[in-house]
């Protein structure tokens, strides 16, 4: 239904714009985060901070996995965009919670890094986006702070779209279940 060749065509190189959009995304994330105070002074419960911190480490892992693919030769714009998207999500959570956006989840990264160590990480990326969307979908029911809920719901919206695009890029454009159903298992902060 969605032609992967067409999607490949759409993902042509736009290297000259990378720096610009990277800066723009980060600026947007910081603007959305507002001026909430850091750490415990933010007024967030310990439980909310733990969940948000976990979600942020997941997003940083995703960023680093896309970096792995880019370093391995994945040089079309879609991979750079995905990298920047996930970094922006981590920064937004950092802005809301005051937690430093520095620590990725090594378990997530290590378990997927070999699959991303390629110039065509479409299938690995499709699976990662589904896991990320499923995880945030689960987490919106575990936090109380409305800013965190709104941020995570926003991530689900976009990571769901990412997954559909990546389903097509990975040759699953004719598979409606791959395009429209997220059957990934959510990661848990307790795991």
């Amino acid at each position: 239904m969605i032609d992967s060749a067409v999607a490949d065509h759409a993902a042509t190189e736009r290297t000259t714009r990378r720096a610009l959009f990277g800066a723009g995304v980060i600026g947007t994330a910081l603007a959305l985060a507002g001026a909430r105070p850091a750490g415990a002074a933010s007024g967030l419960s310990d439980a909310d901070l733990a969940v948000a911190g976990f979600a942020m480490s997941l997003e940083l892992s995703a960023r680093d996995l896309y970096d792995t693919a880019i370093d391995a030769g994945a040089d079309t714009e879609v991979w750079q965009v995905m990298r920047e998207q996930h970094e922006a999500y981590a920064y937004l959570l950092a802005g809301i919670t005051g937690i430093s956006a520095q620590s990725r989840d090594d378990a997530v990264f290590d378990s997927r890094s070999s699959a991303f160590d390629t110039s065509d990480p479409a299938m690995a990326a499709f699976e990662l986006e589904n896991v990320s969307a499923a995880t945030h979908t689960e987490l919106v029911g575990k936090v109380e702070d409305r800013d965190i809920v709104a941020a995570m719901a926003s991530f689900v919206s976009m990571e769901s779209r990412h997954a559909t695009v990546l389903a097509a890029l990975s040759g699953q454009g004719g598979d409606f279940d791959a395009l429209f159903v997220n059957d990934a298992t959510a990661l848990s902060p307790e795991a």
Binding site: A10, T28, A29, G141, V143, E144, V149, M158, T164
Partner: protein, 271 residues
């Protein structure tokens, strides 16, 4: 020249005495006690009385009933689209899948509404149907490209559905309901992404993500992107359909909005 009689009441006396009479009337009226009568604003002519709306709160049941109404709104839109018979085979299969997904979502929402202590609302959103869907469908009369219009309408309503769940999830009080609702919202966004890929296959990523302006196409239509932004957006969704007006050179345009006070399906509302 005739001689007019000299009046005993000259103009100055008339004005002075008239003003005195009005002032006394106002004072006497203000001194009355236990005066009955309506406090409503004055009305001119014969109009039906303004209806008194029931008291209503926006609770989880209302939010989920609104979401369910959006599913039935989407189904109503697709039913109208099917009647136009302008989609090709692949597009018809795609829309067929959307229809079955929306039916499943509506059923799932029914269970969530029951959990929230509410009654299902198994019909389209009345406000959105009146204010958006019907005018949009009306603009399709003598359209210059029904195929284009139907795809753009489908994209706009899938996008609206996805954005609406994103908005509603943030408002749900009961945390356990949020994940179930957002699961549906994610699927609506997937529908929207697939439709954007069909309508605009050559550019899946919005120029906004590269710091570039996002413009309508040369014919004035908003361009859908599979990945339109970094974060899920809750802003209005622009939709342009129909033929260009010969006089002004414009087409019918509207902006779809995520549900708010005027489009919530309150508990006193029935299909």
């Amino acid at each position: 020249m005739p001689n007019f009689p000299n009046p005993s009441l000259d103009r100055r006396a008339l004005i002075r005495n008239g003003g005195l009479a009005l002032s006394m009337g106002a004072i006497i009226a203000a001194c009355g006690n236990d005066r009955a009568g309506s406090d409503d604003p004055g009305r001119l002519g014969i109009n039906p009385p303004v209806p008194t709306l029931p008291e209503a709160e926006v609770n989880d049941a209302v939010l989920l009933r609104t979401a369910q109404s959006l599913e039935y709104t989407a189904l109503a839109v697709y039913e109208q689209a099917a009647g136009l018979d302008v989609l090709n085979g692949d597009e018809t299969k795609l829309v067929g899948r959307f229809v079955s997904d929306h039916e499943r979502h509506a059923a799932d929402l029914g269970a969530l509404i029951s959990r929230a202590g509410g009654e299902e609302f198994t019909c389209p959103n009345p406000f959105i149907m009146d204010r958006a869907v019907m005018p949009i469908l009306g603009a399709l009369d003598d359209s210059d490209d029904l195929h284009r219009d139907v795809l753009n309408i489908a994209y706009a309503f899938e996008y609206l559905a996805g954005a609406s769940y994103q908005a509603l999830v943030g408002a749900l009080e009961e945390a356990s309901l949020r994940s179930s609702a957002m699961l549906i919202g994610g699927e609506e966004q997937r529908h929207a992404a697939a439709l954007a890929s069909v309508i605009n296959p050559d550019s899946l990523i919005s120029p906004a993500l590269f710091g570039e302006p996002v413009d309508n196409d040369d014919d004035g239509f908003p361009v859908p992107y599979a990945i339109p932004s970094t974060f899920g957006q809750l802003t209005g969704i622009d939709l342009v359909v129909g033929k260009r007006d010969e006089g002004e050179g414009t087409r019918f345009s509207t902006q779809l909005q995520t549900p708010a006070a005027n489009s919530f399906v309150y508990e006193y509302e029935n299909c």
